[in-house]
Symmetry: C2
Subunit: 446 residues, 2 copies
């Protein structure tokens, strides 16, 4: 007899069992519905690409984490480690077939051989949405609005989106004669929330004299209302300019769309990446700011520099689905169930599976997902199993004629309603579902 192999997954990889997968998909589907409602289209790209395409010609931090190997044809290939680089390649390769401005979303797995000790996974889902081929303020605004809507749809509760402009910050640094150190300054400031003011001072003092380090801290710590803060930032960066005008235009859009409450201007938001050139933003959950940003991004003016000399600008954002789901679970805002079924048809006689499916089909046709039990175990066992899977209702089918009367059982209250025709049972369930939803609606808006 062959020896057995121990069933196990690689470190940093995960199986998703039904309850976890139903929850994960529910959130992804609600977010996706928002993208679609805004006219964003889905695309897909290969998991495996030429290593050169993904990594460019240089090396760097990323390269160490990438799953890279030679395929059987000797090609140097790698698994994608994000969705941005493949999108840049995609947009360049297909630019003559796309309609610009091009709005796309992409929800897909990526792979990084990260240190798993920090609670990171080597396979995880990214959820990116971008609008490229336009530099308009309206595109910036649309991405911000989608963030607000998508997080609401995901059940994230109240959020605050913190907004800044890289260009404005660079103008300020230039005026301070600190532009040569802008990368180091941006990275130091980006750590403010994590390492605190003193930490940032220490980092900055390694790069600049104390006076300029102080001025930078004063700039990023500007407080007050939107207009006041923006006025101070504008003055510090040498007066009115296209970047301050962009922030002012966005503010106007927010007011006209009646959503200004969600947005805060925050000169401390820089995002670490070199990549961004315009607005940058992060999103905190008002109830759980400690988990950090669940949705971030910004505007860039050269997406495809590796592949073409034509510059392709755009604005995009990425929802940290894994982090968001973890946060919602901590907060008890998700409900575990192992199946989509809302009704279980009890098996009274193992030879009448045809009838049970015929009855179930009538409920399914009315939008009520229905699981049919397959074996004639004791009814109490079947009830218990249905309840365990998160099913609310059971139907006891007729034991005689196919069109005999049925009984509905509420598995929560253990109440039976007997003597129903199938049509009456369907109406009964639809009515109960509607009432249940109304109740839930009331509870949520309390």
């Amino acid at each position: 007899m062959a020896s057995l192999i121990e069933p196990r997954v690689l470190k940093g990889f995960r199986d998703f069992l039904p309850a976890a997968e139903i929850e994960r998909r529910g959130i992804a589907e609600r977010v996706e519905a928002v993208f679609r409602a805004f006219g964003f289209a889905p695309i897909d790209t290969p998991a495996l690409e030429y290593a050169e395409i993904l990594l460019g010609k240089g090396g760097g931090e990323t390269e160490k984490q990438v799953y890279r190997f030679n395929d059987s044809g000797g090609r140097d290939v790698a698994l994608r480690f994000d969705l941005t680089v493949p999108f840049a390649r995609f947009a360049t390769e297909h630019r003559s077939d796309l309609t610009f401005p091009f709005r796309r979303y992409h929800i897909a797995k990526v792979w990084r051989g990260e240190n798993t000790q920090r609670g990171r996974y080597r396979e995880f889902t990214q959820c990116d949405f971008d609008c490229i081929g336009t530099n308009s303020a309206a595109a910036d605004f649309e991405i911000l609005l989608i963030m607000k809507e998508a997080l609401a749809a995901a059940g994230a509760g109240r959020v605050t989106i913190r907004l800044n402009h890289r260009g404005l910050f660079n103008r300020f640094l230039q005026r301070m004669d600190a532009a040569a150190k802008s990368v180091e300054v941006l990275r130091a400031v980006d750590k403010l929330a994590k390492i605190g003011r003193d930490g940032v001072v220490t980092l900055l003092s390694g790069e600049l004299d104390g006076e300029r380090a102080d001025a930078i801290l004063r700039y990023v710590e500007t407080t007050g209302g939107w207009d006041e803060t923006l006025d101070a930032m504008t003055a510090a960066s040498g007066g009115d300019n296209p970047d301050s005008q962009r922030l002012r235009a966005l503010r106007g859009f927010m007011i006209e769309a009646e959503i200004a409450d969600t947005f805060v201007i925050d000169p401390a938001i820089t995002r670490g990446l070199d990549y961004y050139t315009g607005i940058v933003f992060e999103t905190l959950l008002d109830d759980m700011p400690s988990i950090g940003s669940v949705c971030s991004g910004g505007r860039y003016d050269n997406l495809s520099g590796l592949y073409t000399r034509e510059s392709l600008s755009g604005v995009g954002s990425s929802i940290g689905l894994d982090r968001l789901i973890a946060a919602l679970q901590t907060d008890g805002r998700t409900a575990a169930r192992e199946t989509y079924a809302e009704l279980a048809v009890i098996c009274v006689d193992g030879e009448r599976g045809g009838l049970y499916q015929r009855i179930a089909q009538r409920f399914r046709a009315e939008g009520i997902p229905t699981l049919v039990f397959l074996e004639a175990k004791k009814q109490s066992v079947q009830f218990a199993q249905a309840e365990k899977q998160g099913i609310r209702w059971a139907l006891i089918p007729p034991s005689g004629a196919p069109d005999g009367q049925v009984t509905l059982r509420n598995l929560k209250t253990r109440q039976n309603t007997a003597g129903l025709s199938v049509s009456a049972a369907i109406d009964f369930l639809k009515f109960s579902k509607k009432n249940q939803k109304d109740e839930t609606g009331t509870r949520e808006s309390d």
Copy 2:
């Protein structure tokens, strides 16, 4: 200046642009809705696993095609080449956490370094659904019913599901004293549709004497109605037995569920794989039988033999989504559109993006996906772009007060309806959509 990298994908890999991806997802989502309606739950497993888990300890045909490499920790890993092997590993590993019978579906990418010359891809989507932990006829029947429903939901038109029983065929071979050659016989018969009667005779004559080869051909070519064919098969395999009883029970279920028309008993269906032990089935599109089976599977009694000595039996099926979509495209049954948006809000003034989004939000809230144009180009240019993307309606927003009247334009008929409030425009569109759907409904049922 760094030299550019040519943007391209690996041979056998594909990008999906919006129109293709919207179509692919539409079909997958409709199929998935059927799985959910039957109480089948989604799961997910890693793309990358230990090579030993996926390939067992031996080698074989499969191994040559697998993407296999050492990760940076020196582990021997591989990309999954199907969803069955990971499911076997999953079911064994998590058996104490699953509710049995366990019904799962899994729609996901798999990778095989196949010869791309035969029009095969190296990355493709599989769509599997299985019910494990039960040997009941009701489980077999449920899988068959889901196949019928899922293909109908995918828009496949009329299908015929061809059903056989491996056990019955094995009894027949045993009675003929040909059981020692059963693998070769099954594989030869499996090629009947491809290589014809003479081809099968030639294959069989290499294994068995002419008399037995003839008898096998007569068996697999049994024709007639269901009862007649089953009676002949039963007699040829030595009289009534549990396998013939299983086929008879399934026939009874089909009649009671009023779906017997879709199913044919066909003794020539064997499926090549050693794996199956009970019923086996294939599905042909009645309008396009030449493309071969779009949904196949069967019952197996030892899913997890590599990992455990406990036997885990079940029944499952797999939809060939790529093949099905290709068939529907050939048949002109799919409609290309680049966006989910049904309405485009025209940009009259680039500074009023806030207002345009506020108007669009009212349509989105009513279930009408709405794209907002971002730049104030000529209206004719905006109309043309919306139409090109497959959007049916345009809205010309007020140029004065935010609550001014709007105009709706039907981009197909080029008819304008002016002087509408936003509420009236919403009602107008909903009414038009309803009428459109009714028309489509009528056309489809013609």
